[in-house]
């Protein structure tokens, strides 16, 4: 067996293990976003939405759908990798990976694919749920939509991986999602267009990276955006390369995993 074939088998093994992990606990990983987003669609879409009227020329519920899909993708891909990698550290099964001849890039890629798989699966589930509330939804630019979906899932899976590397306790893996990610996503244009904000807060909002992710996805799904899509895509790719390289550096150094 050639070395490349062995490496491919290792990657398939780790990916299957990661996907099997979140599918095994599907009640915790796949169902909650569907339930939560259904409530958002009922309350903000069907009940309050008609009173709000249009947002950027669209029905409010229609405007909300890309933001809520993105919210689910970001939190699911991040949560999958941070909990899975911290879990293997906590249970010491990280030793199985470290003792094996798997290159670090295969370990990183396996966990990231797991995070992307869950993020994309949850994104599709939430989108299908949204069709119950807005059956006429059509995706304007499928290629851009899928590209942003996957890039976002990769980016936040990498961030989850970095969080898990540095985490020593269960508190450490919940601090970032609770106190950083969630507020930034909610203030990143999921529920509103920044054009409704006073000028000062519009400028402040431009410093929120979630705004770019949500709006690029909205451009793909609905064809409307508050920001430059090309700039957003370039920044996503840039941060994926940056975080990916940093994660590999930490794995090589053994930060958080090797004494």
């Amino acid at each position: 067996m050639t070395r490349n074939k062995e490496i491919l088998n290792s990657l398939i093994t780790l990916t299957v293990r990661e996907v099997r992990r979140f599918l095994r606990i599907w009640v915790q990983t796949l169902v909650p976003p569907a339930v939560t987003m259904s409530l958002y669609f009922v309350i903000f879409g069907s009940l309050i939405g008609p009173r709000i009227g249009e947002m950027n020329g669209l029905d409010y519920i229609q405007f909300m759908i890309p933001g809520l899909v993105m919210l689910s993708v970001i939190t699911s891909s991040y949560a999958n990798v941070v909990s899975s990698f911290f879990g293997v550290k906590f249970q010491r099964s990280i030793e199985e990976l470290m003792i094996s001849p798997m290159p670090n890039i295969v370990i990183l890629t396996g966990f990231i694919i797991g995070g992307v798989a869950r993020g994309v699966m949850v994104g599709i589930i939430v989108f299908l749920v949204s069709l119950f509330f807005y059956p006429d939804f059509t995706i304007v630019d499928p290629l851009l939509t899928i590209s942003v979906l996957i890039l976002t899932a990769i980016l936040f899976s990498l961030m989850g991986f970095l969080n898990a590397i540095y985490a020593d306790t269960f508190d450490d893996i919940s601090v970032v999602p609770t106190f950083v990610l969630t507020p930034l996503i909610y203030l990143g244009g999921v529920f509103y267009s920044i054009t409704i904000l006073p000028e000062f807060w519009q400028k402040v909002s431009l410093a929120n990276p979630m705004l770019y992710v949500v709006n690029t996805f909205r451009q793909g799904m609905l064809g409307v955006s508050d920001i430059s899509v090309s700039f957003s895509l370039i920044m996503q790719v840039f941060f994926i390369i940056l975080f990916g390289a940093f994660a590999l550096h930490l794995l090589k150094k053994g930060t958080g995993i090797r004494q």
Partner: protein
Amino acid sequence: MSDLALKISSLEKKYASGVKALDGIDLEVKKGDFFALLGPNGAGKSSTIGIISSLVTKTSGSVKIFDIDIDEDFNEAKRKLGVVAQEINFSPFEKVEDIVITQAGYYGISASQAKPKTETTLKRLGLWEKRSEQARNLSGGLKRRLMIAKALIHDPELLILDEPTAGVDIELRRGMWDFISEINNQGTTIILTTHYLEEAEQLCKNIAIIDKGKIVENTSMKELLSKLDVQSFVLDLNQPLNNLPSISGYTMTLSDPSTLVVAIEKDKSINQFFAELSKIGISVKSMRNESNRLEELFMEIVKSND
């Protein structure tokens, strides 16, 4: 190509806390050997094994596994290495069979190739009936056996067993000894650390004792045991004695009227002692060592290093 499975030279490990766990150790283990690495808690055994298996980063020195320097191609060296860690290190929520097949996958073996080997190994270790159970439902002894199955799935040439029988009952332990001996007889080099010195004495051909980060003894088991100056034997007598018998040249005590304890120096024969007993009409029902021979030597060596 040397005949060494492992060569450690001037290996040092200093932890961030400032603790120097290894102080320049040198160690060689020949191919096919069954080697005991013993030492008290905190002596440096786990640090040594951790460095060999990449769980611990060395401060300086070199480690070669079958002539492959871990600094040059650690991944290639790891292919030849199997490790049974001291602590359970598999996911408790996965099924027994999946754990072993996944481990094989980490070594580049596809699931279809790993399945027959997994079946053979699990059957040999008495785990096949439990293959569909989550690992958390296994008893302590079965978890230990699963650790061994995992470590063997890629046919390692060097198997490191870090206290593999800790907390395992005697029946299971003996079964594991047989299994490990069989693997050694098939050509796999084995390095064993254990606190059961009787286990090391029975199984291992060569031995190193590490203490305070230094190798304080490194020789064959036979050579080491021959250094024992005095051995104490417990004799169960056929008839009880009221008084201690008088035999010159032997130190004796009666722990109860039917149990005589005698210390026999290295240069004296146990046959001679039995002859002396016969002369005064004392017959012996059974005999055993008062304590494990290796244990006595181990304590002597460690004490002398204080």
